[in-house]
Subunit: 602 residues, 2 copies
Amino acid sequence: MAQIIADRRDIDFVLFEQLDTEALTKEEKYKGFNRKTFDLIINEARAFALKELLPINAEGDREGVTLEDGVVKVPACYHRAHKLYLEGEWTSLEEPEALGGQGLPPNVARAAQEYMIGGNYTCVNYANFGHGTGKMIHLFGTEEQKQLFVKKLYTAQWAGGMLLTEPEAGSDVGALTTEAIPNEDGTYSLTGTKIFITNGDHDLSENIISPVLARIKGAPAGTKGISIFIVPKFWVNPDGSLGDRNDIVCTGIEEKMGIHGSACCTMTLGGKGQCRGLLLGQENQGMKIMFHMMNEARLGVGFQAFMHASVSYLYALNYARERVQGKEIGGAKDAPPVPIIRHPDVRRMLTWMKAHVDGLRSFIYYTQTLIAKVGLACSDEECRYHQGLLDLFTPLVKAYCAQRGFDVTVQAMQVYGGYGYIKEYPVEQQLRDCKIASIYEGTDGIQSMDLLARKIVMDGGKAFGNFIAKVQETIVAAKGSEAIAPMAASLEEAAGRLAETAAVLGKAVVSPNVKAAFAHSFPFLEVMGDVIMGWMLLWRAKVASDKLAAGAKGKDAPFYQGQLQTAEFFIQTVLPCTLGKMASIARMNDAAVRMPEEGFSS
Amino acid sequence: MAQIIADRRDIDFVLFEQLDTEALTKEEKYKGFNRKTFDLIINEARAFALKELLPINAEGDREGVTLEDGVVKVPACYHRAHKLYLEGEWTSLEEPEALGGQGLPPNVARAAQEYMIGGNYTCVNYANFGHGTGKMIHLFGTEEQKQLFVKKLYTAQWAGGMLLTEPEAGSDVGALTTEAIPNEDGTYSLTGTKIFITNGDHDLSENIISPVLARIKGAPAGTKGISIFIVPKFWVNPDGSLGDRNDIVCTGIEEKMGIHGSACCTMTLGGKGQCRGLLLGQENQGMKIMFHMMNEARLGVGFQAFMHASVSYLYALNYARERVQGKEIGGAKDAPPVPIIRHPDVRRMLTWMKAHVDGLRSFIYYTQTLIAKVGLACSDEECRYHQGLLDLFTPLVKAYCAQRGFDVTVQAMQVYGGYGYIKEYPVEQQLRDCKIASIYEGTDGIQSMDLLARKIVMDGGKAFGNFIAKVQETIVAAKGSEAIAPMAASLEEAAGRLAETAAVLGKAVVSPNVKAAFAHSFPFLEVMGDVIMGWMLLWRAKVASDKLAAGAKGKDAPFYQGQLQTAEFFIQTVLPCTLGKMASIARMNDAAVRMPEEGFSS
């Protein structure tokens, strides 16, 4: 099963045929690269993941994390892989070399990370997690803070964290009660308890640097009174050496349905002694600063879910090709049984899965190109254009990938039948691991509210308009190819209806009918995601159609043919359901809002 | 949280307001009962489940099943509950008292079992599982076989089993290779290996009677050469006493994602010594006979999934009422945070869950009334009518309940947010336990093929036509109530479109386009299920609307109001999506079928 974890041919298709990633090498920033160096890095990532990560994925799930005598221990098998991962310099691939990265374009970094995350998400996340913390310090820290922390976080010599949630402050971050009191020396003393802290403590790194949201004594209530602090596990002296153990302690770990290799910690700050922290940026700017990390993390969560889907799809596909069961429908009575991939209902599931895996991959990589473009020299207007699309797409990458990614893992289990439900086969772990993606980093419901209340309407709806215009560009191009023109017409109808739906909801959300609007924000996120899938798949089909017209041969021919069928399946079979859901949203029925509270049960 | 496991008010509503279950007490068969005795039995079931079953549900999940030295051990805590369950005579409630049952109408039996299955499915399933085996022997066994086995199976003094699946014969039962050779004494010697055998062996019962599908040496290939045998773990002497240990042995158990308390066994027959079995019925009639048990089991699996949904919904509802987080949308700026049930997106999820839990309950109980009617004196025509609907609905109860039941557990986890994902809270187990329902007893894909290829077209489409006519009856009645007339109109449109869709698919399935038809069989099952939900909810709304018009007071008022909002939500928000899915099916796109096999991945 050569292509397990991720389909390399498809990665290359997205990077170099759908998106012109090679063009980036003409930019000063990426001039050190060419197609060959990109290939090499992705090859190495794949080799590493297959050798070191995938083989311990199930073991990490079985062993899980333990907390004994205040020490959080990750699965024993993670230590070797983590060490080798750091030695291979696989963290912060898109950061400059001077800061410990490789200076890769973001979408090529994602390509390499497909194998890492797909091979063993919980294991590599310990190393990858420091980037977000490092980035915030890079953007908002003092020179001294940057010198002390950024490179060590980017290279994962020190691990990072993300301490937001409290027992009474989950989705409502503004309700947090962790308190910071200024000390004479310019540091702050923090007291409070944070829960559900991914990788909050562990035994893989010599130090862990936790960004912590807290309220400085006397600061206003709500989000506007929140500041952010850098809280190291071991205090960092001005020369970079490690000082005393800080009083930030793991006081509990959660037993979860999945991601067993990931430490989910309760962290107590200043419970016994002094927990010292450094203010990052200005007072009361914590939410603004933290959103930089949260946006990165949201894109990361979507990517995680996508990888569970990608891995699950390939497992299921492989199983369907090998599992012989039942006669072919319409075949001769005495014909021998066939691999189940021949059965229409199995094909329905596989094609559905492929459509979403392909579409999500293109969407994720496309979003990464927006990051690249914002990072290149561009006019203010260009920057705003790309940043606008990136902001618009962020809740979709997070929530739509989480939703459809999970659905793909569920379908994969169904393809396996009974074998899918048992631990001897790999998909049940994928399903359990994937489920968290709809919950953490802001639930998918929160993402849909962000989409409706902020992203759709921001800047007078400009980004949303630009998105529809991009879809229309693809439609116009596709209409020029006879074979795919009918798909283009179907997508055009859906995109038009999406714009109408957005207009209806956008008005409702600033009307007295606001509650009804929010009762449809999540379905709206789903239909917008569907249209994006249709867009990405039509775009793929256009590329494939051109290649076939140009006489693609050998293995390429069925690959491109597969692109056409996948797009056709999605656009002619899934999108009609999406139109139904748009009709549902347009009715904007408010029965759920009107339901008396006692009506839910007696 | 008084209503945990199941909503008693809603059970009573279905039994006594939607369905006129009391009318059954006028029948000779049920004359020993009245409303009070029904209430008493359901009360007792609830009390038993809350005291003995629910408290050990999580413990059984943690402990799981072990196999040591050939002995299968269920979770230790199950022993006491199992013993008390048998003492309370909770098995085979709908069977006659003379055979160890209580003679209850099937839907009242379901009502009692809601608490048992909802409280601890895997635990009570050991006791409930014998009924299907007993029923087959009752229907097809010799007088001696009946005397020896039926009552002991109905009362669960002996446990039952169901040995169909083999490593190379899963969905394709006809491929099985277990062989039976006649002995001189009229018994048969069996050799073979069966896998995924639920409760195949365990330490709860003094004997286990396994119905085994096998091929008598020389019998034809495929399903037409399959016979069924009664294979006791301990041989049963003609006087009913136990004889030698039979060579039917558990040689492995599976580690599963869920239902950890349930033993999933590999059973080896005749591996070392002689495995003797008794032929049940005639030679080569095994599939026909087994289908009696399979149909019962399919209804049971749908019921299991429904219960996971019902329990999960009530947990999530309770959490949403208690969890305070975030300000009310549109509320004052300084208003205090509110329970999350006030947030529109949470209400969307809860109402969606309630609509399906309510609709599924009504559908399941309605199906049980069909069983009752077939069991009462009726003309051939009446019997065929009820049996036709029962046959038509069986794949839907199995697969639609499994699908939407699982979706409800997923939504419940989402309502809990991070708490939903951890084992400290109960919904993650419900999700894991529920997932098996879409897989065992014939995958949901198999059910959709049964629905399309057999049930829709059987008897010239008569049962399907009768079903649509029943829906129309409800629509006509509802049109008479002003408040719900618009819902009736919407459902009428959907039911009409369903009939058209069935006609299109029914034609395609006997055409050269048969593969394309089967590529849409599962979505067809889903849309038919949706229309059934709409039917059941409109029916409920009609009852509620009449009660409100008659001046319902106190707690009844919001309960009935809740029925109206739930029906409205489903019909005006979910059914438009269903119409979209019907439009998708009607296009009958065959891209999934045309996809080149190498097109799925390179």
